[in-house]
Symmetry: D3
Subunit: 154 residues, 6 copies
């Protein structure tokens, strides 16, 4: 059986923090799916196409990594993909409390486990919502997002 991990998120945008977590999980799995959650009621800063394109570009040389979009529950997407694990990073104590709740509910709901890595220390401050705030005010986000020029504002 292939070992498959799913790294879910809205990735608005996909930061260097996300990128680092995916690269570090890759050796552990046969396949890692970066799963962009699509919620029709949510307003995203960057277009869905550009977010997907951006992530694909970052991992184009990494044959184990694919990028997909999904709607609905993350655990349902995992089942559909026959993925055994959800993958997440933890930056700090507040993250840990939040992630713990979701991971334990997902486990109870579906049996699917969530594996965690601690974020790289230097990247741990990066936060997508602050990155958006910077971008909205015409600040330079290249310190926080690799190849940010690929992202297109909605």
């Amino acid at each position: 059986m292939k070992s498959i991990g799913v790294f879910p998120g809205s990735f608005d945008p996909f930061t260097k923090g996300h990128e680092d977590i995916v690269r570090r999980f890759v050796p552990l799995f046969d396949e890692v799916i970066i799963a962009i959650g699509v919620n029709s009621k949510k307003q995203y800063m960057f277009t869905q196409d550009s977010r997907q394109n951006h992530i694909e570009e970052l991992f184009k040389d990494e044959s184990k990594v694919s990028v997909e979009t999904f709607q609905g529950l993350t655990v349902d997407f995992c089942k559909q993909k026959k993925a055994q694990y959800l993958l997440r990073g933890i930056r700090n104590a507040t993250d840990a409390d939040y992630e713990r709740s979701i991971a334990q509910m997902n486990q109870q709901l579906s049996g699917i486990e969530t594996l965690f890595l601690m974020c790289d220390a230097a990247l741990s401050p990066i936060n997508s919502s602050i990155v958006r705030e910077i971008k909205k005010n015409n600040g330079d986000i290249s310190a926080f997002v690799t190849k940010d020029e690929l992202l297109i504002i909605n």
Copy 2:
């Protein structure tokens, strides 16, 4: 003087976590009022009637427990009901920081104290907003909400 405790919340929905906290507080009081806060500007997932009905059904054999709705400040509702205590559960450190701020401000505002119990460990991951997310995506919430079939989506 009757000892009265008020357990306030929006209960959208009322989870097994809420239920456990109420049942454990009951022996300490003559009367426990589960107080559903109504905020006309807020959008709830489940109808107010079905939320109230659901909670009443759960405690129909518990004569000390009643269910009411209220508008305005929680401490004003307590005064009106001559309740001496607010009752809350704590799931984790983030909860504790948030609850501490509210409890201390309520105490300063009104003299009304907030009593806390630690959530049952097994129920501590349950979070109403994740439950709503699951429901919205047609997931099964029966692991997190007793008699969830009584709830009606708005």
Copy 3:
């Protein structure tokens, strides 16, 4: 049945923070026992007699409050006293994580519940081990301990 709460600790020393928590719990119970844990292998800064005397002095006008010493498990002491509740204060998030673990284990071990109040905000920084550090260095601890002159160093 009398409602009895036990407020346990080593109280080396009993600070204004402890005092505030006890005074606020008193109206809820018929009897509150301040229980000084005695561990023969532990080194205390203040003599056991002076710690007990100090606390008794603080509550001499509070007929519902008594002071006792105990050895062994806190929940065993509660059972012996027919106390239904352990009483504790929470100062911050770190406290909450620590207290949660103990409260849930005690509940599983004995069925005895732990009730929490948030510490008075102004008293929330007070910490017995820092108070000892100040005393050890001949600092003035009267801002943190009522009637500290009653305490005798071992």
Copy 4:
């Protein structure tokens, strides 16, 4: 070179907690600018004019303190004002995690450092969003905001 610190926020409203932090930072700087962030998409409870007037009134006898409004990134405002430091208060662990992320990203973005003071313990529960909730329900916010009568609801 003049040492200049910027204390940024939406101050909706400016609480006793904010006031305390500013007063304690004043001795460290030649000039402290209280910077009211203006976001045209955000809905504030109190009018911008009354918020500015309120803060100016509180510090009218403090010649080192001025009040300004700004749009865009906080670090850009700092550069424009030649301010070397951002100033912030910390109330609890959750605050610390949140502030850490912003401070480290701001530092990386601009080289501007953020200095922190711990909030006065007695004022640490005060939270602008709870203050608004109280005001919305016609509660008395004077325990949390000095000269609250100067604030005008939008």
Copy 5:
């Protein structure tokens, strides 16, 4: 290359919380080594032999799991065993802060990654030092430790 994970600790005693984490990590690896750290200067409650025997007994039907003792740095033990991953559980926010620091230092020191699972919610209160405290006072630890009768006090 065999995938090998090391679950390190002093396991004084090995609780149901530890046991759960190991069982959930097993499917991800070819081999999981439970590594009992031996520190000649530390005083353990249970004999080293009985701790090792106890853990071996728990996993006697799990061919992928072995139990070893080690001295020195955990990352050196991993290298010697050609293990690519350290394995740990997280119970709460305080754990997360502590584990983050160690995981990031170990990563920097050796390149060895630490993988985390969130503890099973119901087991999350279990804490070896409280278990020892209960045992020391002749309490029953069987709710927290499987086959606790195998452990021998030093």
Copy 6:
């Protein structure tokens, strides 16, 4: 009046994290004193002379920085040196809770304020006690301590 800040600690050893905090505080003060606390009952890993020598070496080109040892309360040392500020770094939420308590007690005891900087993200995992653990096991601590060769084990 000269502005003087005191950075206190046992510095066993003085890590890159400490070093970064001091360098970032220097521009804000006329003088920064790194104050090595000496507690005759405590056992340190590195000799006091080598710890002092190590820190002096790191700041030999920084004329505003001096290194001193002190006994007794930190706030008493500050008064003796006419220092107005204590200086500290914060790494995470657990640190923040701990530091808050000490800072607020010191403020109440003496009027001396504590200023905080967030640790550099990349250095935030560094922890003196883990560094000692690595050294004790003959690990290489040079990633965590500049010029660690100057330190001599007791």
